[in-house]
Symmetry: C2
């Protein structure tokens, strides 16, 4: 009989994956790590019972976390990724020749070790790239010693439960802002607003207290149930229409090899449904 993995993240709703093969099931110092194979999604990584990434849909997430802010900035050299131990976002960032260093800071060494062993299709050659440095540390603590350093900080954070709660605090946003240099950009995974309205509202409020330029854009990842996922980006400078035009144009001239992201998808990602706009713009 096939075993099953059931995720109960939202009240009254469960998604269940058949596990045709279990690759890892262990408790690290920080969390319960499960890695298994599923007929529809390929290899699946779950932390504390919540799906983080799958082979088949990871591009819908990792490309949208990386490429929009890189094209919007225009010349990203120094990048920091908070979390992201699976290497998926790092792979996307490293597609850009302008990028000189990427500091990937994940608190859990075992996530990185298991990803390197089992999730090659997710991170490609990222861990072999000499521009990538992996640090096993708390992301906030790591950033506190690196003021005025990064052009791009990507918070590949999980849901705001357990150990990750601190990554949703206003003090974390202030730490991130201080670690950016110039017109550096920070992007934050901000949940699935269909189920997590309050989360998105709180994120936008918290970020507006730190940045003048806060905007929300969308990605759609099959295994993040509830449909649209929000990504919020903070910058000293608001994202104007002409700045977005320029970003999309930069991409058109020099498109990365992607499966989801395109210049048109980039622009379209900022078109929020009416109900979500009411959440992001709530005072």
């Amino acid at each position: 009989m096939t075993r099953e993995f059931a995720e109960t993240l939202h009240a009254g709703y469960t998604q269940t994956f058949a596990m045709t093969r279990v690759l890892a099931d262990e408790r690290s110092d920080f969390q319960h790590i499960q890695l298994f194979e599923n007929p529809a999604f390929g290899r699946v990584l779950a932390l504390d019972g919540i799906v983080q990434i799958t082979e088949r849909d990871e591009h819908t997430y990792s490309e949208m976390m990386a490429h929009p802010p890189i094209y919007e900035h225009g010349r990203v050299e120094r990048v920091m990724i908070a979390g992201g131990g699976d290497g998926a976002v790092a792979e996307e960032v490293l597609k850009h020749p302008s990028v000189r260093t990427v500091d990937l800071v994940d608190i859990d060494r075992r996530v990185v070790e298991l990803a390197r062993e089992f999730l090659g299709s997710v991170h490609g050659d990222a861990f072999a790239d000499s521009r990538l440095r992996v640090h096993f540390d708390d992301a906030a603590r790591f950033l506190e010693t690196r003021r005025d350093t990064y052009d791009l900080i990507i918070a590949d954070r999980p849901d705001p439960v357990g150990a990750a709660t601190s990554l949703f605090s206003e003090s974390f946003y202030r730490t991130v802002a201080a670690a950016l240099r110039g017109t550096g950009i920070a992007v934050f995974q901000s949940g699935v607003p269909f189920f997590q309205e309050d989360e998105l509202r709180d994120v936008c409020r918290g970020m507006r207290s730190v940045w003048a330029g806060v905007a929300t854009y969308l990605a759609v990842t099959s295994t993040y149930t509830g449909g649209l996922m929000a990504i919020t980006r903070g910058c000293r400078v608001p994202l104007s229409g002409s700045a977005l035009d320029a970003a999309v144009e930069r991409c058109r001239r020099d498109p990365p090899s992607t499966r989801t992201y395109t210049p048109d998808v980039h622009r379209a990602a900022y078109a929020l449904p009416a109900w979500m706009r009411a959440i992001t713009d709530a005072p």
Copy 2:
């Protein structure tokens, strides 16, 4: 103990809804109809074990099936809805004062009766609108006697299994095309391509054999698992960039009351991810 409704539409993946109250569970002449309440989605209608509509996310589907083609056409007067017995799409269509008649053709009288009894928040006042006429008939048969009649035909069809298979055939597309008048538009629910690649490929191929203007746009409905849902639209005339501009401008001047649809969402819906563009454009 709370009862559960489990939908197994895709291999190795199940979504499960807690049923806090069962409103209906019966077999009509055509299908197994279930109607229940869930903490996250409100009232949920399922046919033959597959979720069709929920109170909480129906606007993400029904608004996107109705408003884009209406603004693209510019003066829709006569509308036909194939399926859609829950009345959700009809409600959206009837928001437009230019619409003079709507023929809603559902094969199953019990779906309409149960929707009228239990899904008021889904269809609003649609069934009380004198412009709406409900017919209990096979959609293809109904259309065969109405050549050159409609400005808009909306195929609110389920997945291509069981009785609905005929709604995915090339002969159905020909019947629909013949029932349109002038530059009338037909839109078709075309599945969730993450799980149903072949379906979208076949739909686009089949429609291109009938219409010169075939295009695909996107909606995201939480309970249609797999993320992006494809809607394909056929018309004698291709949708040019300037025609889309004009449609969006018409909406800006006279926006409907909606929860999802906005002029920006309309335009953005045509930005397909790279992997999906490869499917829709496959020869």
